[in-house]
């Protein structure tokens, strides 16, 4: 299969002359996103200059990313006073403050002699009259959307002080056909739903994919040869293999943060226990030993702890243990059942599915079980996955009736819920780390 290799060359654009030499005013554009409910920052994103419309398409990607984050409110372009502004000149800041734009993004797309695109942008603090950021990138024209995501990440990081999450992908299960006999295919897309590619052809039932930390492999569960097993798929070559040689159904696979291990559940008779398999030595280690269902494990980002669900106490609850299986302790104690825990990439929270009162909810709690918060509740919300910056969750949501699931995202405030567009029904999303 063809491999598309993309090179992005980033360089900081340094502005010399009048603006940079002026006495630096204190930057006033900053967004404190540590508070519960954030007022979105009004930002003007001008169409990037180009001679073929691509500039506008890239700035539209930037604008859509920032808007969906819930932290930015892009201003309608019809309100702009200073039109056609490019990256080479200093803006007339009054024209922007008067329409309440606290930040301004301008840019330009130009073709290089070697066929690549050069994409430049500048981020201005309109109130202080200062440049906050300026970069340029060289890339294959096919990757124009990715450049938009990278620019949106740069703006997000510069203004919020936290890493962005837009230059990332999602692996998920694309569903089609009758509910009683769904066809399920592994698929990958950009985090905003663009560029969907299918990884399997639908002949085998496939479930619960997860990215490896370097994003080159997917581990998932498949009913491939009639026996449900955990598989490993090399994305570049398409090669796939069964993980381990276990005497029963294996399911619920996850990578360790160093990518060296896959942890999963092994079903034997009525019991499911969690095992770790070292991918190089093939050595397996049993981590839990109960007569219960222990499944849905998730490593802490430092690899020292694992959160998982177990019904050893009668119903599904969340437990944590050390990476070697020692020190197992229950952390969830609320009403209802708790399942599918996922440890935040920041380490500070665990997200989960909770069933209570006939509703399926997505919530978060601290790793010690305190501070439980429900972010969204509905007929069937299941399977949260964290954005790389630990501020947004994606999950799938199903309605009553013969329809099918769709992907949604919600941020930690619980106020900003979005639907992720997919070509058909979709479930089991898993977010990649940031690309680089």
């Amino acid at each position: 299969m063809p491999t598309i290799v993309m090179r992005l060359c980033a360089a900081v654009l340094v502005l010399a002359g009048a603006v940079a030499a002026a006495t630096p005013a204190a930057a006033v554009v900053e967004l404190d996103i540590t508070q519960g409910n954030v007022q979105p920052l009004p930002i003007a994103i001008a169409d990037f200059q180009s001679n073929d419309g691509l500039g506008q398409k890239i700035s539209d990607v930037v604008s859509a990313d920032l808007k969906r984050s819930g932290l930015f409110a892009p201003i309608a372009k019809a309100a702009f006073i200073q039109k056609g502004l490019g990256p080479d000149v200093s803006p007339n800041f009054q024209d922007w403050t008067v329409i309440n734009a606290q930040a301004l993004v301008v840019g330009r797309v130009s073709p290089e002699a070697d066929g690549r695109l050069r994409v430049e942008f500048r981020l201005w603090d309109t109130v202080a009259g200062q440049q906050m950021d300026g970069q340029q990138f060289y890339t294959n024209p096919d990757n124009w959307r990715r450049v938009g995501h990278i620019i949106a990440d740069a703006i997000y990081e510069r203004i919020t002080g936290e890493k962005g999450y837009f230059d990332s992908r999602v692996v998920f299960v694309a569903e089609s056909g009758d509910k009683a006999n769904r066809v399920k295919r592994l698929a990958i897309m950009d985090q905003d739903g663009a560029n969907v590619r299918y990884l399997t052809d639908g002949r085998d039932l496939v479930l619960t994919p997860r990215f490896s930390p370097n994003r080159q492999e997917i581990t998932y569960m498949s009913f491939g040869n009639g026996e449900p097993r955990v598989y490993l798929l090399q994305l570049e070559t398409g090669q796939r293999e069964i993980v381990g040689n276990f005497p029963g159904m294996t399911f619920s696979p996850r990578f360790s943060p160093d990518g060296q291990k896959v942890i999963m559940s092994l079903q034997q008779n009525g019991n499911a226990n969690i095992y770790a398999m070292d991918l190089r030595s093939r050595a397996t280690t049993r981590l839990t030993a109960t007569t219960a269902i222990d499944t849905s494990p998730s490593f802490s980002p430092d690899g020292t702890r694992i959160v998982f669900e177990s019904d050893r106490g009668g119903r599904q609850q969340l437990y944590t243990m050390n990476g070697d299986g020692s020190n197992q302790q229950r952390i969830s104690f609320g009403d209802g059942t708790y399942s599918t825990p996922v440890w935040s990439p920041r380490g500070d929270l665990i997200a989960f599915t909770k069933q209570t009162g006939g509703q399926f909810q997505i919530g978060v709690m601290r790793p010690d079980g305190s501070g439980e918060r429900i972010l969204t509740s509905g007929f069937h919300n299941e399977g949260p996955t964290w954005a790389p910056n630990g501020r947004v969750l994606m999950y799938f949501s199903d309605q009553k009736g013969a329809g099918g699931p769709q992907l949604h995202s919600i941020d930690l405030t619980g106020y900003n819920e979005q639907t992720i567009p997919t070509p058909g029904y979709a479930s089991d999303p898993a977010w990649s780390p940031l690309l680089d």
Partner: protein, 172 residues
Amino acid sequence: MLSMVSHSNGRIAFALLAGLLIAGCASKKDGLPDSAAGLGLGGAGVGNVTPGSPQDFTVNVGDRIFFDTDSSSINAPSQQTLQRQAQWLNQNRQYAITIEGHADERGTREYNLALGARRAAATRDYLTQLGVPASRMRTISYGKERPVAVCDDISCWSQNRRAVTVLGGPSS
């Protein structure tokens, strides 16, 4: 005038995830036996069915049992069905047997895979107690992936919480 100084630093090459179709690897259709041929709840006799045939098993014996929510206990009606199944299976020893465990949609995916496996194992163990050799039986769980009844109320979900005894063709 503003002058622009730029210095390009090569960024790390990134191997894009190419869309991969794994062609020619899997050969089976989807590995799912077709077990939805009739609900076979009761044991009421129906004519025009060849005794000892899979149809006879499904229609006259009842090929499936049902479970309470989040339970793998074999309840009283299920015990009666399994007694009929065991009697029939012990009279028709040419069939290999696959027991499929299923869960309803009101649970999370991975737990339901394990719950379906638990139900299949409980069914197999009960049939073993009634004299069906364990060596004739294999189990598989489909979790909530293969509902027979598609709707959104309790009556539906209860039909999906099931274990189905599938005759896997004549054993050699």
